[in-house]
Amino acid sequence: MDFEGFGIGQFYPGDSVIHRLDPRIKVIISFLLAVTLFMIKNFWGFVGIFLFVFFIIFFSRLSARLVLSGLRPMTFILVFTFIIHLFFTSGTPLINFGFLVITKEGFVNSLFINSRLILLITGTSLLTFTTAPVDLTDGLESLLKPLEIFRLSSHQFALMMTVALRFIPVLIIETNKIMKAQKARGADFKKGNLAKRAKNYLSLLIPLLVSVFRRADELALAMESRCYRGGEGRTRMNELKIGYKDFYAFSFTVLVLFVVAIVGWKT
């Protein structure tokens, strides 16, 4: 077994309108989409959001299959919530399996909840699919600037995200290396009882931690050597600029989501 990377920050480069939108606009659109999803309560509301998400997928020129593949890791949760809601909602009985009863309300409920989850995951994953991590970081840094009045540094947050993105692959490679080294010394990460396996994983964790601290030390020196002294007086290579297309995209989203929210409001 190799320790594999999780698909965080998965990005599919492209040159579509959606790819070229300002990352801040995309973050705001994703946020508004999520909020609207939790407001709607009827069938037509979900149809509206579905069309909206489909519209974005179409203009991002990503294949629908690729976007849907983002749901795969969630299969278990989706099936689980579906079943729970299907069998454990009281109301008018629809089908009767002896002690298990599917109600009409349960059926509708589980459909709605799953639609909500699926649309939420695909809708927000479009953000990372179409935005390079660097741009996303820059966008979040800029959006979180107002938090500085609470003495929270958006620059530090963005730098943390950058360094994390930079070092996750490095540490995954390193974990695999240590794992192989421990295996060569007879450690087994699959067999044995829980205590034994935990001990084996500990033998993985300790060298990894030592290495992380050493890396952090050296990285700090390297950053200081390059005149890093916090966010003050720092400029950026890529300045974010809101253009016409960002303005149109934003207005369009607000309009669509507003209509969808009104239509989907009634139960």
Binding site: R166, V170, A222, S225, R226, C227, T235, M237
Partner: protein, 275 residues
């Protein structure tokens, strides 16, 4: 010019003092290519870390172009003047895209966006990695990553570039490539180079070689005076050049040639002179 006088430094570890530097005096004129050799723990890294203000002297002075690193304000001026490249490229690349990493230094200097882009492009072409500008660092080879680290330092447009064992994790081919690039920088861009290394052959074309031992400068001089002196090198556990060892063996077996031969060409010349 870098001027270091009577420099002492001790690391403090749990009430204990580890004396790493015990009185270093040296002067490095602008434009030189200087190599530091010496056994493990002799204080090479500790010494070079003083030159861009990563460490402050326990005693003594470090002055770069008339600026003393001791004063708080001047440290940023010095760090801009003196670029630093470390051994492990993985631990000095900050950003997750090559060009953004190279921009990190200039961004810290508060330059304008267009100036930063220009510098990034220039550094990428100086290190010959233009085609990797959009790559994620973890997809590059060790040698390419080290070039990214060098480009990151060059983007600050330093007058002095310190490299602390930059090639010790690389294969021979990448090692030669990096050495060629720093020699080019020295010749064509007048960048003063300070190279710390364990590879004696990297010192052959230097202007000056310093040999450190136990926190002191054991000796220094041109490559021929230092690298060509086998008994001196063996005293400090430095591996002599292949040709120098060969010359020494030849002399031992009664062939009368100079013992301070450094390169194959020189060896050929010496041997031809025999008849």
């Amino acid at each position: 010019m870098i001027k270091i006088s009577d420099l002492y430094y001790a690391y403090k570890v749990k009430n204990k003092h580890i004396e790493a530097l015990k009185g270093i005096d040296l002067e490095i004129p602008k434009g030189e290519f200087v190599v530091f050799l010496g056994p493990n723990g002799s204080g090479k890294s500790t010494l070079v870390k003083h030159i861009n203000g990563l460490l402050t002297p326990s005693a003594g002075e470090v002055v770069v172009d008339g600026i003393n690193a001791k004063e708080d304000d001047s440290i940023w001026k010095i760090r801009q003047k003196v670029g630093m490249v470390f051994q492990n490229p993985d631990n000095q690349i900050v950003a997750n895209v090559v060009e953004n990493d190279i921009a990190f230094g200039p961004e810290n200097l508060g330059l304008s966006s267009s100036e930063i882009k220009e510098r990034v492009k220039k550094s990428l072409s100086l290190t010959k990695i233009l085609e990797y500008s959009k790559y994620e660092p973890h997809l590059l080879s060790g040698g390419q990553k080290q070039l990214v680290a060098i480009a990151g330092a060059l983007a600050m447009e330093p007058e002095y570039l310190i490299l602390d064992e930059p090639t010790s994790m690389l294969d021979p081919l990448s090692r030669r490539k990096i050495l060629k690039i720093i020699h080019d920088l020295n010749k064509n861009h007048k960048t003063t180079i300070l190279l710390v290394t364990h590879f004696t052959d990297e010192a052959v074309n230097a202007d000056r070689v310093y040999i450190l031992d136990a926190g002191r400068i054991a000796c220094y001089g041109e490559p021929r005076e230092t690298l060509g002196n086998i008994s001196l090198l063996s005293k400090f556990q430095i591996k002599p050049l292949a040709m120098t060892s060969l010359a020494a063996s030849l002399v031992k077996s009664g062939i009368d040639i100079s013992t301070s031969v450094l390169t194959v060409d020189e060896m050929v010349e010496e041997l031809c002179l025999l008849n």
